[in-house]
Amino acid sequence: MRSRRILITGLSTYWGGRLAQTLEADDEVDAIIGIDRRPPKVELERTEFVQVADHHTLIRRIVQGAEIDTVVDTRLVIDSITTTPRKAHENNVIGTMNILAACGGVDTTVRKVVFRSSAAWYGSEQDDPAFFTEDMTRRHPARTPIERDIVEAESSVRDFAARHPETTVTVLRFAHGLGPDVRTGFSELLALPVVPMILGFDPRLQFVHEDDIAGALAHAVAHDLPGIYNVAADGVLALSEVIGLLRKPAAPILPPWGTGLVLPVIRRLGVRIPPEMRNELRFGRGLDNRRLKASGYRLRYTTRETIERLREHQRLAPLLRDAAGPYRYEREVEDFLRWSPSVRRDPDAEWRPTREQIAQLRRTLDALEQDPQRIEPGEPS
């Protein structure tokens, strides 16, 4: 199925914003509608933004009103540095339930749901395999609130998929994203001048570049990929190797025993290590990304290259800090630019119908072909 009318939840998250930018370049896509509680943080050309909390009746009205065929859910909070556990739970578990409720129903137009999840679903334990594949289960119960949320949200997605066999449901489990714009526990840790490690441990870690995050989401929109897919760059690096690539000194200062007791202390010193990273700094996590690669997606960066890009960015960051002001969403301006007839979108070209108008025309012609007698009122002539 070709996705033409797409709803993106979590437009203001990094993932949602980048996906909308990617999809805007695709001429086959007729409409992109983004929803979130807060205004978007990236500049968007034709994506329409609706500010809405995740209440299912409101979202359902949007889905039905805009005849959405594909819902991309990028709203999951997978890192507890950005919000409180309570808010994260509300968003992750209740929010997912509401979005799925809005996608379901007998008369629904939704044919595809893409759910952004996290490799944190697998956890990080001593007896883990070195490379997780998608059909493995976790042996241990979730340890932290964020992990519990992710497991719970994914299980409700699985239930939805079982109840709606005609809908293509894709779950993408992302490794930690790294790049100039994405902020996670690991990006904060690796931004420190000296990177702390747990004494006696050198965990294997895997990341994914932010361009590949947007690319994989767009790939899932463009192709039918039912099931679960790990999204991680090629190559699993030891933490010492990562720190070496960043040309930083490593500080094995966290004690191997009683690590949990020391974390509040170093937090006072300004180093914040969220609870879900504690086990990862010990055992790490590797993913098998071969299923995604077999589906036709070509990852642009390996983990090593991702780290190299991050290093370039870290060098430039102090120089670029004040160069460009942050983007601010102004509803009036955006609405004017999108809808005012005075705005000249492409001054050199003569008049061309918009995609919206072509789609409507196509539908009218189809209706005429089936029933030549009937001409619906209100259709453009």
Partner: protein, 289 residues
Amino acid sequence: MAQPTPDHGPSALAPADRRDLLPAIEPERQLDDWGFSERVDRVFDRTLYEFYYRVWFRCEVEGIEHVPSAGGALLVSNHAGALPPDAAMITKAVREEHPHPRPVRPLVENFFKGYPGFSMLLPKIGCVPAHPANAHRLLHDEGQLALVFPEGRKGSEKLYKDRYRLRRFGRGGFVETAMRARVPIVPVAVVGAEEAQPIFAHVGVFQKLTRLIYFPITPTFPHLGPLALFAFLPAKFRIRFLPPVRTDAMGDEPWDDSGLVQEVAHEIRARIQEELFDMLAQRESVWLG
């Protein structure tokens, strides 16, 4: 949407054609995806292993031709010694004596991944945590040599009085792994490791205190402290590689037949035990061989 199987083992969704989708090797990197460091391994190989192999244990190797030159194979050996030197000596034997020297990846207990220090060092010298999925990837997808001690810690913690009496061979998991990966099993018998670091007793209290897997009393431990890890008695080592057991001609999905799995495991155990007694009967001195 695919339902995840309760099985935590090798993936049914990674068929043979996914082999070519394995990540390419990046020459710029110092470690591989398992955390193996050629540099660290070379240092160990040229110093400690070299010394123990040539001077201290004076290893003698038979039947090296039974180790295949290409493709995966699972080496299965008996296990002994508080800090078993047999893994390093078998690895070194393949590297020194084989016409096509290949790295051997010993599969080690998960415990080491959780213990500070070991967790950092062991992957760098080629050890891989023993997990069915890890073994499958090594043997089937990457076509490497893996070394497994089915006795596990029951082998290395056994007391000196029980020397050369093989413990139970796990639950036959190693046979199942080899069958799934469709690689041969090469049984290996090692004589000498039992005398190199004999264990006279275990101290439960200290084991709990240090959170080690066991706290043994050996000729050097604990009074020499951590140094005792590398203090072995100079026993003469003999390593005998036995003819491989093929697993690819046992039917379509032989791993589903748990009776067959147990039978093969039992057979391999019996062959190693028999070979050990044979080697011991010929041995004239523990130290001179």
